[in-house]
């Protein structure tokens, strides 16, 4: 039980730094890297958070698809590719069409549970069409692992992270730091198991 006190102190300091300083925001920006919003063969919007049973997209999923639609409207690519769970893809497709993206320009990747599965689905969908250069839409913290997964299957990736500065409220900052820790753990797991 001797190590509990230092552990408690570390936890307290980490909490204070995470909630009351821009630590999480800085990490968020750092993980996003530099966005490269250039013409590509396709805009790929990765899944995140899915949709509720009534078809309402989760916050992050919604932010991603809106960013992807914005890129499409700037004519950066001829295809808007929607990925994620089956419900998420359906809800995103409905939203994209409602916001003016032609149905013919929307491609749906097969349902996937993990980024690795998404990469495999996207490879099967896009590479036979000659779409190798992709604008990758994901949250800033997800960009490193997602980018590595896409490059592993043969894509040339242009990162297009959603807003990178992150929240300013203490509770939201704590949530962001938790997500960053999880993402870094995922990245480590992918590397330990021999894939990006």
């Amino acid at each position: 039980m001797r190590g509990l006190r230092p552990l408690g102190l570390v936890a307290l300091l980490l909490f204070a730094a995470a909630a009351f300083t821009p630590l999480a925001n800085r990490l968020n920006v750092w993980m996003a890297g530099v966005a490269r919003l250039e013409p590509a063969d396709a805009i790929v919007v990765l899944g995140r958070g899915g949709a509720d049973t009534d078809g309402v997209l989760a916050n992050r999923s919604l932010r991603r698809v809106l960013h992807g639609i914005g890129l499409y409207r700037h004519a950066l690519a001829p295809w808007l590719v929607l990925s994620g769970s089956a419900e998420e893809i359906q809800a995103r497709t409905t939203l994209a069409q409602g916001l003016g993206v032609p149905a013919a320009a929307i491609l749906s990747a097969g349902p996937a549970h993990t980024t690795r599965e998404e990469a495999d689905q996207l490879r099967r969908l896009l590479l036979p069409r000659g779409s190798r250069r992709i604008l990758l839409v994901a949250d800033p913290i997800d960009i490193p692992r997602a980018r590595a997964a896409m490059e592993r299957v043969g894509f040339d990736v242009l990162p297009a992270p959603t807003a990178a500065t992150g929240p300013s409220q203490p509770e939201a900052r704590l949530g962001l730091l938790r997500d960053i820790v999880i993402e870094l753990a995922g990245l480590t797991y992918y590397r330990l198991t021999g894939t990006p």
Binding site: M1, G3, L4, R5, P6, L7, G8, L9, A11, L12, A19, F20, H113, T114, S168, Q169, P170, R178, D179, I182, G186
Partner: protein, 101 residues
Amino acid sequence: MRSLTLVIIVCLTSLAAYLAGTRFAGLRRTHVREAAIEALDYLGLAVAFLLCNLAVGIALILGLRTLTGRFVSVYLVNDAALAILSLLQAFIFHRWRGRSS
């Protein structure tokens, strides 16, 4: 500014509790430091419980994936409720330890 507001609120209520404790409840000023150190022990215990809960949760999920071949998301353990339950575990364990010693 919002962050600072929260800190100010907590400082004010802490000061009020300190004054009320020392003037009306007969608490000793010299014990504040010991109480803070004990809180660190308690917090450390909560972190230890949280890490154990996460480890067990992830192991169970990975085991289920392996045994059943079905996908179970690791995000299942990504829930603030787990942190609160860990605090509760630590509180009970801390009290139990205190009563037993």
